[in-house]
Symmetry: C3
Subunit: 158 residues, 3 copies
């Protein structure tokens, strides 16, 4: 028997965080047919952003290694949002697309390594079904001065 | 009988703007199966951008309240584009995904409040069917120096 | 008999570049149902970026005409990635959505003209089937200091 996503998640020592209640017209994730699109997820941990600021190398910047870890947290939050709309983690058939926005110092060009934090988490949780198309871009600033924001599209089992 | 999207739009005192004619390979919206993807919409009003520049607080910046109103206009333009590809406003079953790009001063981190202008309009026009996943990001600059750009994905009734 | 995409590509004197092998959980393109989402594509030519930096007018910037050509290259790379996941170029029924990220000097607002490089290539290769929804945005910096990044969604023949 193959390992389920839930079993892999538990094996990683991770649990899915609570998904915030919908506020008005804007919700954490929406299912349409067999796809679930998540909202852009910030690296909230226990309701707080562990770090804020722009990613780069130098004084006053969030270092790339920390940013990679934040991207991992964003991805975990996105999985939680997707699972809530899909009917549970194991109802997700595959990850389809990931966009990683990195609030970047203009001199910082290592967005792919930051995004690897998100891709790695998805691979660990979903195995082969976690293989996804990805865009990583550097933006000037993100909501609440978050260093990273990640949105995910997944396919639900039919 | 439930209220239609068209009735709600009229009740808001709004009409859908004209959708620009397609230019070459790039068109305002494309239907694929039961999804319609719009192009990124700028806050054109009567063919002009009411404001240009970066959003933030301070001299020479577009204030967040004005930007929220611009996001509302972008969303209305996106609804018009989506409706044109869907076969009319009432052929839209639900809003799925919204991405709000805010041309931001690097110190401005209030992109979600700006994006609420788009989300609010969609909620007012579509009611519960307007509930969407959303990403809001701050970018360095947008086409024609627009302060806001909004793209929308909707599902069409089958 | 109508002209195939492959015939048009050959008529343009173009060939699809090799698609890089997947690295871990992140792959060049993913098929889900009848849609293929590509990863964000940089303008790699023979494994190298022909230019790096921000797009704009002035000393030390990548000029808009060169950036338009880079967007064309990104689009060709995206077509190659999409074709690899679709089962070949002629298995692609239509282009659906294109997002063009332009690493922009804050004073540069000509992202649409840069994006026209991508749209034009898609129109030349796919003809009427190349008509797509498009978002063009200016961002602060892109991976490896690439001036342009393009992601594409296409529909596969069923």
């Amino acid at each position: 028997m193959s390992t389920t996503h839930s079993e892999r998640l538990a094996g990683l020592g991770l649990t899915l965080p609570d998904v915030p209640a919908p506020v008005a017209a804007y919700v954490p994730a929406v299912r349409s047919g067999d796809l679930v699109h998540t909202s852009g997820q910030l690296p909230f941990t226990g309701g707080e952003l562990p770090l804020t600021g722009k990613v780069g190398r130098g004084e006053g910047l969030v270092d790339p290694v920390s940013a990679q870890q934040l991207a991992r947290t964003c991805a975990l939050n996105a999985v939680a949002a997707a699972a809530s709309a899909a009917g549970g983690l194991d109802a997700i058939e595959a990850v389809v697309k990931v966009v990683v926005f990195v609030a970047s110092d203009p001199a910082f060009t290592g967005q792919p390594a930051v995004a690897d934090g998100a891709s790695g988490l998805l691979g660990e949780v979903f195995g082969d079904a976690g293989r996804h198309a990805r865009s990583a871009v550097g933006v000037s600033v993100l909501p609440l001065d978050s260093p990273v924001e990640v949105e995910v599209t997944v396919r639900v089992r039919s």
